[in-house]
Homo-oligomer: 222 residues x 2
């Protein structure tokens, strides 16, 4: 029956476009998930749209309908990864003390870095080069992370004098760099350092950095 | 006199190759300096070998004799920049106390980052992408910097218990990330933070990180 098969070509895009919103979202999520997995395990140049479309069981045309270029797909996957990271590291349980929430957030971060080691290292080591949009996604995530730390600190009973001075903001930005560099190094080769040791180091450095940047006495009272 | 001019073509490379070692080094240094300036102010793709050869007053052939590809020239320039940075930040004056030497070294680092702001930001934000050789030059410089800090700490009378544990090494690696992220942010927009404020923040975070990673009491005794 060649006729029905033929009609599944370009014309078949129309009914798909007319699907419900949920269907569209589901398809988009499926494509993003496949793309994330592909880009995580191969370099940008090695990933082909043909392979992705085949793996998703959709036409190349449909894939291009959602993501007009490979770069669009890559950046959408990156945004989704950043969103997941921010979501997973947001610990709001009121059963935990503020310091326990910080610890749990960092554990979630290190879990994420370990689980997505290849993508995590590839991305922070350059991604697809000096693409400004890629750099912006990474930088926005860092700024959002600093903002969250400032918010958490202001509302917490921790002995951390708050105040959003430029120096404090810069210091927390530096701490994010500390987290990225140590976790990258550690994910590649832990050299016997446990996740708990690294997490405790990150917590201690964050709290002492907070104190240094706000001029509070540098005592280990956490 | 067309004949003598003509003989300055490819054949002229031979006497140049036969120059003394000093001449060769000088020529190489001149080309590297020009390349560094060019790559500092324009993107990798925008820099042309033709322009560079013209600026140096040499033939393209001679330039390719020293640096077979544009990428070779870029990486050689990068290595030279890293060497200069390490040289400038090495403070050995015995007139200074160890803590003053650390301060002076960081001031030299921040001076360098400010003077070469364009190249510094371009490089640390991705350089020419995820080129493994570029990444290796940057990473080797970081490791050398950590090594130097460990050496300085071991021989110093600072109240810093030394010991090259994997945790201490990882922590200093993190501190290098702290320095890079804050200085990048600060070079682009200082937001009223003075170089002295940033330098003092970096010193304090380094010393507290050292103490945290070695389990020493966290007191501000520097």
């Amino acid at each position: 029956m060649p006729k029905p098969r033929k009609s599944r070509g370009k014309a078949a895009l129309a009914p798909r476009r007319a699907r419900t919103r949920l269907d569209t979202d589901e398809r988009r999520a499926q494509l993003l998930e496949l793309a994330q997995a592909a880009f995580a395990n191969r370099s940008y140049d090695e990933v082909s749209i043909d392979d992705l479309a085949r793996a998703a069981g959709v036409s190349k045309g449909l894939l291009y309908h959602y993501f007009p270029t490979k770069r669009d797909l890559y950046i959408a996957g990156l945004r989704e990864a950043a969103r997941q990271l921010m979501e997973r590291t947001l610990i709001t349980s009121t059963d935990l003390t503020p310091i326990e929430r910080i610890r749990a957030g960092l554990d979630a971060y290190l879990d994420y870095a370990t689980e997505h080691a290849h993508a995590y290292t590839a991305l922070l080591r350059g991604g697809i080069g000096s693409d400004p949009e890629v750099a912006a996604v990474i930088e926005d995530t860092r700024v959002a992370y600093v903002e969250r730390m400032l918010e958490g600190a202001e509302g917490s009973p921790l002995p951390m004098p708050a105040g959003r001075t430029p120096v404090l903001r810069l210091a927390l930005r530096g701490w994010v760099g500390f987290v990225e560099h140590t976790s990258l190094d550690w994910v590649v080769d832990p050299r016997g350092v446990s996740q708990r040791q690294l997490r405790d180091l990150l917590v201690d450095v964050m709290l002492s950095t907070f104190k240094i940047a706000t001029g509070a006495p540098l005592t280990r009272d956490w």
